[in-house]
C-alpha cells in the first residue's frame, strides 16, 4: 500500500496532463452522446426569450474576447436564434473590442460553422433576415458606465454609426428607439470585467430599470449567483453546460423532412461529452490526492521527496 501511495504522491504532473489530453482526444473522436437534460435554469432563460414580443427592441451585448468564445458563442447562437424566431429587433453591441467581430462570426459563421443566419433561414423558409431591419451591429464602445448613461439620453448620439460606418438613423430598425429605456431587455454575454456585472447590472438594471439577463463563463459564474438570488438578474447562463441545455431546449421542425429537431448540434453535444469525461477523471485525481494526503497524515510514512 505504501508503495502505491508513494508512487501516486510523486507522480509527474505531465503524466496527468497526458491522461487528460488522451481523454479529450479519444472522446472527441469517439463521442458517446450522453443524455443531456434541460435544467430549470436553462428553461427559465428560454422563458425570458419567449417573453420577447414581435418588434420588441432588445440588446445583445458581446462583452467577451476570443478566449471566452468556446463557452459564450453557444449562448449567443441560442439567444439570437430564438430572438429571430420571436421577430424581435436585435441590437448587437460590445464593450470589448473583439465583440463586434465575434458577433459577426456568430451570425455569419466561420470555417465549418455555417452561422446562425443561414441555419435560421434554412429552418424558416419563409423568412429572410435583413440587416438594419431585423438586426444591427452597433459596434464597440469604450466608456463603460458613461455609455449607458449617454444611451439613456440618446442612443443615436452615442452610436451615430453602425459597425460598418453607416449612419444608424438610415436603418428601419431604429424606429421608435431613442433611449435605453426603449429597449425591452438586455442580454449581456460577458467574459470578465466590463460587462454584465459592472456595467449592465448597476446602470441599466438598477439605475434605469431595464431588465437584464445574460451569460458568463463558468470561471466567473459564482460571482453572479447572488444577483440571481436577489432577483436583480432575471436569468443566467452559467457556462457551457447551461448553454448546451438552452440549445437543446430550442426546438424546430425541419422543413425538408418534417422531423422535429433542436439546436444542439452534434459538435456541441460531443464537447459536452468530453466535459463529462474530463470532469470524472479530475474527480478521480482529486480523490487520489486526498487519499494520499490522509494516508500520509495518518501513517506519516509516505516519502516527502
Amino acid at each position: 500500500m505504501e508503495i502505491i501511495f508513494k508512487f501516486l504522491k510523486n507522480i509527474d504532473r505531465r503524466i496527468i496532463f497526458l491522461i487528460i489530453a488522451i481523454a479529450v482526444i479519444v472522446t472527441l473522436k469517439a463521442p458517446m452522446y450522453l443524455p443531456l437534460s434541460v435544467s430549470k435554469n436553462a428553461n427559465g432563460f428560454l422563458g425570458l426569450l419567449d417573453a420577447v414580443q414581435e418588434g420588441d427592441p432588445v440588446i445583445v451585448s458581446f462583452d467577451y474576447a476570443a478566449s471566452g468564445e468556446p463557452e459564450l458563442k453557444p449562448m449567443a447562437q441560442a439567444i439570437l436564434y430564438r430572438l429571430f424566431e420571436r421577430k424581435a429587433r436585435v441590437f448587437m453591441m460590445a464593450f470589448w473590442d473583439q465583440g463586434p467581430g465575434l458577433a459577426d462570426n456568430t451570425l455569419n459563421g466561420k470555417g465549418q460553422d455555417e452561422g446562425i443566419i443561414k441555419k435560421f433561414e434554412r429552418n424558416n423558409p419563409g423568412r429572410k433576415l435583413e440587416y438594419g431591419k431585423d438586426y444591427i451591429n452597433l459596434g464597440y464602445k469604450v466608456g463603460a458606465s458613461n455609455v449607458i448613461i449617454a444611451m439613456n439620453k440618446s442612443v443615436m448620439d452615442i452610436f451615430s454609426k453602425d459597425n460598418t460606418g453607416k449612419p444608424i438613423e438610415e436603418f428601419p430598425i431604429m424606429k421608435g428607439v431613442e433611449k435605453l429605456k426603449d429597449f425591452k431587455r438586455v442580454f449581456a454575454l460577458t467574459g470578465g470585467n466590463n460587462g454584465l456585472l459592472d456595467i449592465w447590472l448597476p446602470f441599466a438594471r438598477q439605475q434605469y430599470q431595464v431588465p437584464v439577463c445574460g451569460g458568463c463563463t463558468s470561471v466567473s459564474a459564482p460571482q453572479f449567483y447572488q444577483y440571481m438570488q436577489s432577483k436583480q438578474l432575471d436569468g443566467l447562463l452559467d457556462g457551457f453546460k447551461t448553454a448546451a441545455e438552452l440549445l437543446k431546449a430550442i426546438e424546430y421542425t425541419d422543413p425538408a423532412t418534417g422531423k422535429k429537431g433542436d439546436l444542439l448540434s452534434k459538435d456541441i453535444h460531443r464537447i459536452a461529452d468530453v466535459q463529462s469525461v474530463v470532469h470524472i477523471i479530475i474527480i478521480i485525481f482529486i480523490l487520489i490526492a486526498n487519499a494520499t494526503y490522509f494516508y500520509e497524515k495518518k501513517y506519516g510514512r509516505a516519502n516527502n521527496q
Binding site: 469604450v142 439605475q207 463558468s218 436583480q232 470532469h279
Partner: protein, 209 residues
C-alpha cells in the same frame, strides 16, 4: 488560401503554447510574444478607429464640435508621465478619472450590492412557507452571519457566538472556494476541448485533405 494559412498558423501557435506543459521552451516563448504583440497591436488599432477617429479627429476636422479638444488635451496630459519634468501635469487628468470613477463606483456599489443584497438576505424563516424554503432561507441567513463573524477581527474568536460562528463561517467559505475551483476547472477544460477540437477537426482534416 488565406484560411488555410490562418489555420496552419493557429495550429502551430496552439501547439507552441501547449508545449509549455512539458517544459518552458523556445516555441512557447515565440507563441507567447506573438500573442502579446498582436493583442496589443489589435487593441491599439481598434481603439484608434473606434475612439480617436470618430470622437476626436472627425469632430475637430469637420468643425462640428470643438469641445472635444478639452478631453483630448486632458488625455494627452496623461502622457506627460513619460517626461519627469512635466509629470506633475498628469495628475490633473488622473484626479478627474479617480474622482469620477470613485463617484460612479460608489453609486454602483450602493445600488447594486449593498442595498439589494441586504434586502435579499432579509428572508422569512417561518409563516406561510414550505419547510424546504424555510431551510434554504435559514442556510442563506446563517451563512451570511457566520461568514461576517469570521471576518470580525475586533474580538477573539472564542465561545458559542464568535468561536462556533466563525468555524461555521469557514465551512461556508470553503464551500464557496470549492464551487469556484469547480467552475474554474470547467472553464479551463472548455478552452482545452475547444483547442483540441480545432486541432483534430480543422487542422488535421486540412492536412489529410
Amino acid at each position: 488560401m488565406s484560411e488555410i494559412i490562418g489555420i496552419n498558423i493557429a495550429a502551430i501557435l496552439t501547439l507552441g503554447i501547449y508545449s509549455f506543459l512539458y517544459e518552458d521552451n523556445f516555441a512557447y516563448k515565440i507563441a507567447e510574444y506573438l500573442f502579446v504583440g498582436t493583442s496589443a497591436g489589435y487593441a491599439m488599432a481598434r481603439q484608434y478607429h473606434s475612439i480617436i477617429v470618430p470622437n476626436v479627429w472627425t469632430p475637430i476636422s469637420t468643425g462640428t464640435d470643438y469641445y472635444v479638444i478639452i478631453p483630448t488635451v486632458l488625455g494627452l496630459l496623461m502622457l506627460t508621465m513619460l517626461v519627469p519634468s512635466l509629470s506633475v501635469l498628469s495628475r490633473i487628468p488622473i484626479s478627474i478619472v479617480v474622482g469620477f470613477g470613485a463617484g460612479m463606483g460608489a453609486m454602483a456599489v450602493v445600488q447594486t450590492d449593498i442595498i439589494p443584497q441586504i434586502s435579499a438576505t432579509m428572508l422569512p424563516l417561518w409563516s406561510n412557507i414550505s419547510w424546504t424554503v424555510a431551510l434554504n432561507n435559514f442556510i442563506i441567513i446563517g451563512g451570511v452571519i457566520c461568514s461576517l463573524i469570521y471576518f470580525f477581527f475586533s474580538t477573539e474568536h472564542k465561545g458559542l457566538v464568535f468561536g462556533t460562528g466563525s468555524q461555521i463561517g469557514i465551512m461556508f467559505l470553503m464551500v464557496t472556494f470549492g464551487a469556484q475551483f469547480g467552475t474554474t476547472i470547467m472553464g479551463r477544460v472548455q478552452l482545452l476541448i475547444n483547442r483540441c477540437d480545432f486541432l483534430l477537426n480543422d487542422w488535421v482534416s486540412l492536412l489529410f485533405k
